[in-house]
Amino acid sequence: MSRPITAYAAYELASIFARGDISALEITRAHLAAIAERNADVGAYTAITAERALKTAAQLDDKRASGEALPPLAGAPFAVKNLIDIAGVTTLAGSRINRDHAPASVDAPVIRRLEAAGAILLGALNMGEYAYDFTGRNCHDGNAHNPHDLARMSGGSSGGSGAAAAAGLAAITLGSDTNGSIRVPASLCGLFGLKATYGAIPRSGTFPFVASFDHIGPLARSVRDLALSFDAMAGLDSDDPVSIAAPNQPVTATLEDGISGLRIARLGGYFARMGSPEAFAAVDVVARGLRVTETLEWPEVEAARAAAFIITMTEGAALHLDRLKTRAADFDPEVRDRLLAGAMLPGVWAVQAQKFRRHFRAKVLELFRHHDAFIAPATPTTAPLVDQKTFMLDGQELPVRANLGLFTQPISFIGLPVVAVPCRAANGLPIGVQIITAPGREDTALRLARTLERDGIAHSGVAGT
């Protein structure tokens, strides 16, 4: 093997394993060793399920030895944000309060589905408390750090998911995305990230945040890994009331189909303001790569982001109301204060915000009648420093925590599928671009991402390699 085992993408490991060039145990041990060596620096894992991983790996080795057909991700190591239930592990959701909960009794469906596809679970990943975060900081479990520059934030709230995948501590990680929590760490850590159509990947067996907006999805160093993960996880689950059926054919089937015939526009207006030169330069590069010549504005995006903000505050507050009353002191103060404010907001605001959501969806879906995809920045800047509280956007000093997701929030507001693709900024740090498609069209978003990857415009890899 020409590279360290931990530098290979999941689909590559599955291929090498299937050929018999490496055992699943070797793959697993290499990743466990890397975690032991690097986790203290990057703050990615909060629990390591080593015994389970080695047992799964041994079973896969036996399966291969017996000549049984191997599933598509056989041998690929993955890890999950610690709001996803792992049997026998307490589902922390980044909190101190949840440490008092009993361990989960069963795995979440997304874990069962990835294991059915042959992937090997390595453990649970760090996150911003109760997912109300865009930075990757966690005052209880320690901060996640960006493997490209340990002094910088990983982004959040799926901070550990970003850090682990970028540091080569797992080939695929699962995060959650409510307002941007997959796309922000994907952007800052130089990864591909998929926030699928709302309901496409089941959320059952996960600790919630905002039921109206919560998504579960993968981060990885290759587009094919996103596609394989999506195909493994997508599909109905009776325990998730918003769950929808999987697409009629696997998204991997059209991954190499190129961009011919696709109508793509760059988003202007709101998405062309309040960003750094690096953010817009990344979109320039992607636009050239996809031969995009049109710029178009979505209507009322500022209002969409505002409505998403209000729904998040109120639904988050409703979820945590009892905890706010009885254990306020055990919260991250920044999360606590936002949730307390949310608990005070008039209910009519949340209803009006939901009405506006339906209105905004109709307006945007109308634009998809004449376009297949739109592109926009994923984050307004490259990774800020870990403890940085404010940044300058368009001459205004703004809080980092609330504004890293200003480009992601209006899109997840209406549940559209998005692939975040990693580019490289002039300052040497990663920065992402969003490829946004119509509901149910993850295939198109992934196909565009794959074109950019194949042409060397979007690139990911283990940091420092």
């Binding site: 936002r338 307390l340 009006q352 506006f356 959501r357 339906r358 549940g415």
Partner: protein, 73 residues
């Protein structure tokens, strides 16, 4: 919609805390009031949208169990 003054937001926070039995010691007050200010400012973007009386909030509830899956928010 006119944005309330800092004093009004502070009074609002106190009243809400008292009426809703939410904790609001002095150490929490600056953060809570700052977040309320942001919420008031942002809500102005959509509260005055004239969506019509027939506008349905998303998601739509269906009385029959299971049929809510047909509705996308």
């Amino acid at each position: 919609m006119r944005l309330p003054s800092a004093a009004k937001i502070s009074a609002f926070a106190q009243s809400a805390s008292d009426a809703l039995d939410l904790p609001l010691p002095e150490t929490y007050r600056p953060g809570v009031e700052a977040n309320l200010s942001v919420a008031f400012r942002l809500s102005a973007h959509f509260l005055d949208s004239d969506l019509g009386d027939e506008a349905e909030p998303a998601p739509v509830f269906h009385a029959m169990s299971g049929s809510s899956r047909q509705e996308q928010p």
